[in-house]
Amino acid sequence: MATDGKFSLQELMAVCAAREIRNDDVVFVGTGLPMLGSMLAKRTHAPDAVLVYESGVVDARPKRTPWSIGDGCLVPDSAMVAGLLEVFGLLLQRGRVSVGFLGAAQIDPYGNLNSSVIGEYYAAKVRLPGSGGGNDIGSLAHRTVIMMGQDKRKFVEKVDYITTPGFLAGPGAREAAGLPRGGPDAVISNLGVYRFDAQSKRIFLETYHPGVTLDQVKENVQWALAVAPYAAETKPPHADELRLLRDELDPDGIFLGGG
């Protein structure tokens, strides 16, 4: 594994997720590493960030790591509890969610995501969970952060199915489709962190994780990967961040492994 032995890739990815959250963000949180990243951000640089969960919780302050987007531990100490309609409608569709997290099995250079099928739709090789709230978050949040594993079968020239729109066919395509706002802002993989070019809307590498070479990153992408002229190694986690993750946010290793 590409670590220096002091932290795991899961821990680094959770810290990278936390870094994407600003203090004034309203965050639509999914399960897993984004959940840990969001909780870590609130405990460090973004205490005022508001976390919303799709089963109906607004401004959650859970006292343990939620096991599910519907976990009852999200309810006590939250600001409001309602249902899907309120979170997706009043908040997300209305434009009140600044950042949403997404995962996927495949991504293309425009950040379009597939979490539905591998192979032909009517003769799927692998049947995946489908959209869930992903399509809604990718369509309606002001920006999205994508977290996923990386290899050549996942970072593909063309996804088998567009579950969640990124920049679709490129500049102007989201607007032409009728989407009101948004698009991917960052991709955090197990090899590096990526951004999207403001003009071409195509993905480029910004940082590669400690222990990973630039060649390794390029080898695990199906297209000719653009690299930022300022590309550098991903900043490793602080000791404080690791302590919070290990001792307080996921002591049982549910999402960081070993649980």
Binding site: S55, I69, V81, G83, L84, A124, G132, G133, S139, A177
Partner: protein, 302 residues
């Protein structure tokens, strides 16, 4: 009414059945009974499916689904779903896919007596490109007022909706607290609503706190008292997830043989919800019970 009678009375082969809850309050007491009574040819409806649909698909009850998510969350992919979709085991299935918000809006349309709902997601994606079940699953229009593109999704009616709630009174007024998911809309979209509840309480208790009622009695057909009916899921204020049970389910369902063993051990073997609870044992149930975290009473005075 008991669980067995509720299922035999209302769930007929071939109906459109809606499950309940997303990540919580899953109506497992009723769903296990649907499997026991070997209901067939159902169209299964919901926004967020987990073990509930995995069980129903694995048991061969539902060849058609309309929904949006089908996995076991932190526990990974849904094995019965994959076997059915990829290999046709125990039977081939077809799914009409939307997003979680899309399914909520489809239920809401039916619940409000409307033929469709507009939505600003789904646009530009492949979600509306394939329609294995519905003749017309969505339409994009130019808004007649602003000219902007809007997606229209058709109403999703159910014949029977299940919901797991904390409590109801004898009249059938159903109260929920904690996350609502899309239960109010999913039940509103259905001709028949069967609510399984932790407790049937005095009418006074409901009427002293009417803000907590999400379904008035006129929207509810039958109430079934099923303590721990959402196990292995949570019910706010009553009990937590049974994590080892959910891990066991994910593990056993990796193979068809393992799933058949699960059905024998936990569905057919126990024979009823009471039998299921007996098999779990009082100690295990007691360990799951929720901590007391009461809110202040509010003044409804005027």
């Amino acid at each position: 009414m008991g669980v067995s009678e509720a299922v035999s009375t209302f769930v007929k082969d071939g109906i459109r059945l809606r499950s309940g809850g997303i990540g919580l309050r899953k109506p497992f007491a009723l769903l296990n009974e649907v499997v026991r009574q070997k209901k067939r040819d159902l169209t299964f409806l919901l926004a967020g499916w987990t073990e509930d649909a995995d069980l129903i698909v694995g048991a061969g009850c539902a060849p058609r689904l309309e929904g949006s998510y089908f996995g076991l969350e932190a526990l990974g992919l849904s094995h019965n779903y994959r076997r059915a979709f990829e290999q046709g085991i125990p039977q081939p299935i077809k799914i009409e896919e939307y997003s979680n918000f899309g399914m909520t809006m489809r239920f809401m349309a039916a619940a409000l007596g409307l033929p469709f709902m507009p939505i600003k997601s789904h646009l530009g994606s492949d979600l509306v490109k394939y329609n294995p079940l519905l003749a017309k699953k969505a339409a994009v229009i130019d808004c007649p007022f602003t000219g902007e593109k809007v997606m229209l999704l058709p109403a999703c009616q159910a014949d029977v909706a299940f919901v797991h709630a904390q409590r109801a009174d004898g009249q059938g007024n159903v109260q929920i607290w904690g996350q609502w998911a899309e239960d109010q809309w999913g039940c509103g979209a259905s001709k028949v609503v069967v609510a399984e509840v932790e407790e049937i309480v005095d009418e006074d208790i409901v009427r002293r706190d009417p803000n907590r009622t999400i379904l008035p009695a006129m929207m509810v057909t039958a109430i079934v008292e099923t303590p721990f009916g959402a196990h292995p899921y949570q019910c706010q204020g009553y009990y937590d997830f049974d994590r080892p049970f959910r891990r066991m389910y994910a593990e056993m369902t990796r193979t068809r043989q393992g799933f058949e063993q699960y059905l024998q051990d936990w569905v057919f073997g126990p024979g009823s919800h009471d039998g299921y609870l007996k098999k779990l044992g009082q100690d295990r149930l007691d360990a799951l019970r929720a901590k007391p975290m009461f809110s202040e009473p509010v003044n409804y005075g005027y």
